[in-house]
Amino acid sequence: MLSDSELQSRLVAALEEVTPEAPWLTYSVKASLAEVDRRRSKPRPRIRIGTRLAAVIALVALVAAFVAGLLLQHFPVPPPIPASPHVPFGMEWREGGMIDRDVGWTLVYNTWGDGYSDRVLRTTDGGHSWRLITPPGVTSSVEVKAGSFIDAEHASVTVVGGFGDTSQLYTFRTVDGGATWQVGNPTPPASIGFEISTSFLDPLNGWLLYTDRLKGGLLYRTTDGGIHWRLLANRPADDASFTDPPGVYCYTWCRVQFVSLKRGWIRMEYPTAHQSGLFVTDDGGATWNPQALPLELVNLQCPCEQDLPQFADDAHGFTIRGASSVTQYSPRDPQDHLALFATDDGGASWSVRPLPGAGQMRIGFRDAQHGWVIAASASTLQEPVGRSDAPYLPLPLYVTSDGGRTWTPVPTTQPLQSSAGALTDLYFVDAKTAFAWALRVECVRTPDNPETCIDPGMPPDTNTLLRSDDGGRTWKAIWVTKF
């Protein structure tokens, strides 16, 4: 018969096996508290955020940095390593954004010098100069599959091909603006043709959605900024999605976004006519239910390419959708059947709001009230515009200060309309400061087919970062990359 002490020692040993050290626990709890605090006060205008809250957040960050510094000594992952100092010559902007007037991050394709590899850049002077901060180990032939730029100091990027391993996905995290990076444990091996989508609420809490044709959609969760991932939920690939209509290059789940620790959204692969293609969770991602929208989608080709709803806070979200049953938003052609949907209750219900202009649009909201829309022809926004003598279409820009109920046109000026090229992104970091990316491709058009842009081998593409300090009225090119 087991004695009490024998039983106790066996009990302790068995439970110690499932109690690994949790060096980040204190930090993650504090970060969660700070996040909740921040979200509670977020709906208020920024100018009203009290100094007390700022002091609390600053102190939490200081304490967290101190605790993290202590704990890093025992952290079981490779220690931070300095970022590479080499800045490549040729780069093509891919995605990213400015956090505030000064600090911004971006992912770029590097197509010059050491092969086709991706890079991470960061600016601290409002976009005038950029420093390469790519994680070490991300060498040539590496693809940065996803980047989450959380604030001025914290970011996570997920790459495939790091350390010479072409099938493993690694997530790197930085807590010091890219000066050092930590690499997490690799997620399960990736298959050919996979896609990644990540969503981070704060420096610690994130979700990674992996999809491919064989495995379907696999949703992973991290609570330590991407160092460790655990499988939370999965959805097998549906074969029918790939055959009807044929050639649709979408998988099962394809894009993820969380607005709180509990509530998140997933974009579905290829919805039927009776589905919105959106799924919502209220338990942190373990279970997902279809999200009904007031209108059916028109474009069933690949909803992965449509954006997920943008949430300014827990309650207020916005999205543009193609709509088949709203006649008031049906101008010239089917592609123009667009409507703005807004929710004030975290996505439980949606209403249609007016949308200015026509054509393909981009929308953004920096809080529940203030947003912008750019409206133009499909060619201006979707396709790089041709040679410099080709006509450039004007760029109608509208802003709202009442959550999209009314819109005011903003007269924009040169060079946005004439020489910068096709606009690929635009966003406001505050009421006055806005950034826009433009891509210009010098093409050769043949007499036989003047509408087709022929790649002459190495076209001198130009990426331009534009900045406005007067609410979008005037723009200035502040950074140009060219190869």
């Binding site: 039983l7 040993a13 626990l25 609570t223 942190g284």
Partner: protein, 177 residues
Amino acid sequence: MSGQDAGALVLAVREDGDVAFERLLEPVLQPGYRLACGMLHDPAAAEDAVQQAALKAWRKLGRLRPGEPMRPWFLGIVANECRNLQRSKWWSVLKGAPHEQSRDMPADAVLGGIELRHALRSIGEDKRLVVVLHWYLDLPVDEIAVITGSSVHAVESRLRRGMHELRRRLEASDVER
């Protein structure tokens, strides 16, 4: 942290908010995590439970009277969170990877650990809680009584019955082996 200090901190939290709360919370996070690991046997879920418990503690701090010790109050919230996690649908679809620590251990030890945890899970929630608190967290029965909201006598009784059941189940599985 003495009870007096903690009491002063509770007052400070009410007056000054979050910073004092963190000081109050910090010493009890690791015990909370050990309790959650002992109850859930899943480190990732345990971290979630402690995070949720910390948020609830923050919101409900007004219920903690000045002078009342923080640890039993917080561990009670953690125990509740573990209970909620086990009962929710969320728990049933968790697919955490097996913990790596056991890989370097002898096969017998690994098997013994698995059997013991299995036996622990089968003895009933109230008994499991007091067994984990007493034998794994090394807490005295009077503090466990505060955590579980029951009498010292009830705690002792549950502890005896829990250990008895645990021993019986382990011996049965030892015989099968």
